[in-house]
Subunit: 199 residues, 2 copies
């Protein structure tokens, strides 16, 4: 016989999480046994609440517990600009910067024919609709990742938006701040040269 049923179940639960194998799951489960009961209870509640209370904002598709979400509802933000990102985490990264004050649109993915992900699998149609319904939008900043999939998605969206006359911009490519020229890849260097500015 192996572990008693309650801990065996807990270990199994942990192994369903990404990047957690049986060894780590066992370590985590034993840690739970050593935690205070209140802490375990509130962790369990946090799990259930996060799953039950969170949905996606019907406007920008950010995760939220209110609809529309806190970003869309904030009338102090610049209502004329939309920043298009791939994932909710990218939105959070933009927010951490504290410089961008416009709205967002989360695509929940990028076009990737290799993985069978087409434009219909991400929130592109929703973006177009949103722009059609609301004619005060002046700029769409495409902040998809600087990867093949991200670039393809950016190109696809910019072509779709061309006829509408809305200004479409893309985040600048170049050397990351604090990076080392020596270790920059050729593509990044070439983009950095291409996008050089007078100082």
């Amino acid at each position: 016989m192996q572990y008693p049923q309650p801990i065996a179940k807990l270990i199994e639960g942990f192994t369903y999480l990404p990047g957690i194998g049986p060894k780590t799951a066992t370590r985590l489960a034993f840690h739970i046994l050593d935690m205070k009961e209140d802490d375990v209870l509130s962790f369990a509640k946090a799990l259930v609440h996060a799953k039950r209370d969170l949905t996606y904002c019907t406007r920008c598709h950010h995760i939220t517990d209110t609809d529309p979400c806190y970003v869309c509802e904030d009338m102090k933000r610049d209502q004329t600009t939309i920043c298009v990102v791939q994932e909710v985490r990218d939105l959070i990264a933009m927010e951490k910067m504290r410089e961008y004050t416009g709205l967002y649109h989360v695509l929940h993915g990028a076009i990737s024919p290799m993985d069978g992900i087409g434009p219909e699998d991400i929130k592109v149609v929703e973006l177009i609709k949103r722009l059609q319904e609301d004619d005060n939008k002046q700029e769409v900043i495409i902040a998809t990742n600087p990867t093949i999939e991200g670039e393809a998605t950016a190109m696809y969206i910019s072509r779709l938006l061309k006829p509408t006359g809305i200004k479409v911009t893309r985040l600048a490519h170049g050397l990351p701040v604090g990076g080392d020229l020596e270790y920059a890849d050729e593509m990044t260097l070439s983009k950095a040269i291409e996008g050089r500015r007078e100082i």
Copy 2:
């Protein structure tokens, strides 16, 4: 503003687990959002049940949901031998081997003056009491880890038990099966030479 409250709480909950930093916690929390609600519920329940239903066996200090635990209760096991291990996980490792049929005693630690852990902090007194109360025990196998702390604990226990006349043994040291002589450290090699047997 950052993440909505429910997911921020969940991320925080994950960061309390060992070896999980903010980045991994965020990844895990987003994975929870993508899981089926039933799976999240049963994981949350497993957490609470494990914490609430599991105690330590009053005889051998193994984790258990019954007292005495399933090992102590199994009368088919050899009641005359006790294997002393540091942690519950070590007991499970011994059980996986399926060769040892005696009882166990879990110390829940090892003597380590560097970390301020003395004999009174681990279940040594309980072991001595258990042996005094029950005079059919014939052998104590000390299976603490082959580390400084484990060795110190083994020495300490064997000296304590010497006057009782009970046979005290220690797991063999030597080369691990499948290991490579070239990569064995000197201590292991020296122990392997010392413990050599005729074939």
